[in-house]
């Protein structure tokens, strides 16, 4: 046994970086740092299935992006930032002749860890509906792309939805809105936004922390029963979401007045809560379900031909599966924009940045690629790396997520100054001179 182990260790030292360039048509290398083991495997597993199925569909049905095939490869990280950093270092030089056009971080802690490294290596970090909120300002963070929906937009869209339910923004005055948040950086990320919104609309903003892992929340929900808020935001994830929903039922708080955030709105957050979750709604930049055109195409071309990465076909169309689909589509459309500009050959980091900063998907394009209703219209610019900032609302009826609204846009004029201010502080502290995009040439 010892010889096998020593051989493994020796072998480990050899593989370091010998990239062999094959003469055949070079494909765009896309590394995927994934987690299929540990506490987050339940949501991760479906995410990677969504990504791999779509990439496979692009390669085998559409013959690649503008003819360039996608060479995607998986690396296990167990959702730990230092393993993701190790994977990033291993792949940043590219593979088989193709440089990295972008790097999916698949987790906000990893995005924080890689922020400066990727900026120095000029490789865009893609972390849709996550990332560091200040990085929406592309002038200070050229290589960070929190696409679709920032943590500030979550707060704003949530408030806009409540306003629509209570009959207008003026009705918000005097309301009590409590936020039960997981006591971590993730849980606190949208607090600055909701403070500003509270000042503007005059509702009372109550913040209630839940210590990790959050499997016992009676004190928190007893406080809610005492203060009697009108609405409750859940900024939780994993176990703390399930326990929050169940404890809410026990303390008699109606589920249909609880709104969960992006990462508290998947099937695995509600199924364990059983009947207590009926009526619970969540912000959905990634709507659940399969009645979208792309799902029909995937069913025919991938699922029914047994080519899907899904272990359990019943989970086709689950929220986390659609997360993978949408993220993959964003990457493909960005690459397409890049290939049209720089030519159909693998892009490097800088070209990738240009591609993402000129990514526009309007309604017409959404219909063509079959993502209408699943992905919001998006327009990324050098100064706005979010590009969308809208989400739909879906509620759990005990069996599946039911879409309640179309895309509700966040209040960007209110949020942008907040983001600019944060980005400027970071720039000053780290001695970065914000770029002036309109003067740039390419």
């Amino acid at each position: 046994m010892k010889r096998l182990l020593l051989a493994a260790l020796l072998a480990g030292t050899v593989f370091s970086g010998a990239t062999v360039t094959r003469a055949a048509d070079v494909s765009q290398y896309i590394p995927l740092p994934t987690y299929r083991v540990g506490a987050y495997a339940s949501s991760g597993e479906l995410w990677w299935a969504g990504e791999r199925d779509y990439f496979r569909y692009i390669n085998e049905v559409e013959g690649g992006v503008e003819g360039v095939k996608l060479n995607y490869e998986e690396f296990e990280t167990e959702w730990s930032p230092d393993r993701t950093v190790e994977v990033y270092e291993r792949v940043k030089a590219g593979k088989d002749g193709s440089p990295l056009a972008f790097f999916f971080t698949h987790g906000t802690p990893a995005t924080y860890a890689l922020l400066e490294k990727a900026a120095a290596d000029k490789i865009p970090l893609i972390d849709p509906a996550g990332g560091k909120t200040e990085t929406v300002d592309g002038t200070v963070f050229p290589y960070a792309f929190p696409l679709l929906f920032s943590y500030y937009s979550q707060a704003s869209t949530g408030i806009n939805y409540i306003a629509s339910k209570v009959g207008g923004f003026d009705k918000l005055k005097g309301l009590k809105i409590a936020t039960v948040y997981h006591d971590s950086a993730y849980g606190r990320a949208s607090q600055p936004a909701i403070d500003v919104l509270a000042k503007k609309y005059g509702f009372e903003n109550i913040q209630i922390p839940v210590a990790d892992p959050g499997n016992e929340q009676s004190p928190q929900w007893r406080q809610i029963r005492e203060t009697k808020p009108d609405w409750v935001f859940l900024r939780t994830w994993g176990v703390s979401t399930v326990v929050a929903i169940k404890t809410a039922q026990r303390f008699g708080f109606p589920a249909d007045h609880i709104i969960g955030d992006v990462w508290a709105g998947s099937e695995s957050d509600v199924i364990p809560a059983g009947k207590a979750a009926i009526g619970y709604s969540a912000l959905a930049p990634y709507p659940g379900g399969t009645d979208f055109d792309i799902h029909k195409r995937l069913k025919a071309e991938i699922l029914d031909k047994g080519k899907s990465d899904l272990r359990d076909q019943k989970l086709f169309g689950a929220v986390n599966y659609n997360v993978g689909l949408v993220n993959a589509a964003l990457a493909v459309e960005a690459l397409r924009t890049g290939y049209k500009h720089f030519g159909a050959r693998p892009l490097n980091g800088e070209e990738g940045r240009w591609a993402f900063e000129h990514l526009t998907i309007d309604d017409a394009r959404l219909k063509q690629i079959g993502f209408e209703g699943l992905l919001q219209p998006i327009k990324i610019t050098p100064t706005d790396h979010e590009g969308g900032g809208a989400a739909r609302i879906q509620s759990w009826d005990g069996e599946k997520w039911v879409l309640q609204t179309d895309w509700i846009k966040a209040d960007h004029d209110l949020l942008n100054p907040l983001i600019k201010e944060g980005a400027a502080a970071y720039a000053k502290e780290h001695g970065i001179t914000p770029r002036t995009p309109d003067t740039e040439t390419n």
Binding site: V37, P209, S268, A273
Partner: protein, 293 residues
């Protein structure tokens, strides 16, 4: 005043859920001096096996029987392959061996039964019942009953039955017990099996509360302060420790929390344990070895 009472009672009942987990640790530490880090993974394995079986239509009682059988087999395997070669090694080495064991059990559980989250309905709907205007969770009440029943059952096993007396002999001094011809290996197998079943009970109750998923094994963190307050070697200590930690956390989060910004439960439980240890350095019920030099 009713707010205080409700917080106190709610905390006490929640504490019994911690005791359930702590009892599993006490059993194994008492008999084999091993602080079993893998207890969380065994708890997860039990709950996951049960839910997977019932998921495939196996009736609950049969599923329970199969799961217990698997846990007993696992206990025998652990004793044979891991404990026997490591007898009278330092507690640190044994602690680390159980870390390796937890990786293996989690890998087997997730590998075979998948990592998807599953609901577990024990038929106890978590609706509150009111005593005056004090709200008590039906679920926690039943969990407290189960914990109490388990505690009494196990102390009966320990004190009344023949195996129980042998168990306590082994716990007191393994070498002495060996010299009296007590079959240590069989005893350890029994202890690990019983701990596995206790883990299953805890796993089902916690699973019904938060869904059967990988982070079920994190519930071990809640048991640590309970063990430290109650002492590693006594089941009564595990129950009392659970009540103290449950009530302490609940009261602290409600009354102390607002001044400190909330979310203080994790470190508060250990601060509480530290205070208790200063009074009794081996926990409330743990025996403190007399320094014989």
């Amino acid at each position: 005043m009713s707010m205080f009472l409700e917080t106190l009672i709610g905390g006490l009942l929640a504490g019994t859920m911690y005791s359930l987990v702590a009892i599993g640790f006490v059993l194994i530490y008492k008999a084999s001096g091993v602080f079993n880090y893998a207890q969380g993974s065994i708890l997860l394995f039990g709950a996951l096996t049960f839910v997977s079986l019932t998921g495939q239509g196996v009736p609950a009682p049969v599923a329970i029987a199969i799961t217990i059988a698997l846990l007993v087999l696992m206990a025998i395997a652990i004793e044979k392959l891991l404990l026997r070669p490591l007898t009278n090694r330092s507690p640190m080495t044994l602690f680390m061996a159980t870390l390796g064991l937890s990786y293996l059990i989690e890998a087997v559980a997730q590998g075979i039964m998948g990592s998807q989250v599953r609901a577990l309905d024990l038929g106890i709907d978590d609706l509150p019942i009111f005593v005056g205007d004090i709200m008590i969770s039906q679920f926690d009440l039943i969990a407290a009953g189960v914990a109490l029943a388990l505690g009494i059952g196990l102390s009966l096993l320990f004190n009344r039955t023949r195996i129980g007396i042998q168990l306590r002999g082994v716990a007191d001094d393994t070498r002495a017990a060996l010299s009296l011809g007590i079959d240590i290996n069989r005893i350890w197998q029994i202890v690990w099996a019983v701990a596995g079943v206790v883990g299953l009970v805890a796993g089902l109750l916690w699973g019904a509360r938060q869904g059967v998923q990988f982070s079920l094994s994190l519930v071990v963190l809640k048991a640590l302060p309970v063990l430290i307050i109650g002492g590693f070697t006594s089941i009564a200590g595990a129950i009392v420790g659970g009540l103290v930690v449950g009530a302490g956390e609940s009261l602290a989060e409600t009354y102390l929390g607002p001044f400190l910004g909330g979310g203080i439960t994790p470190w508060f439980a250990y601060a509480l344990a530290l205070v208790f240890l200063f009074i009794r350095p081996a926990g409330l019920f743990g025996e403190r070895q007399i320094e014989r030099v």
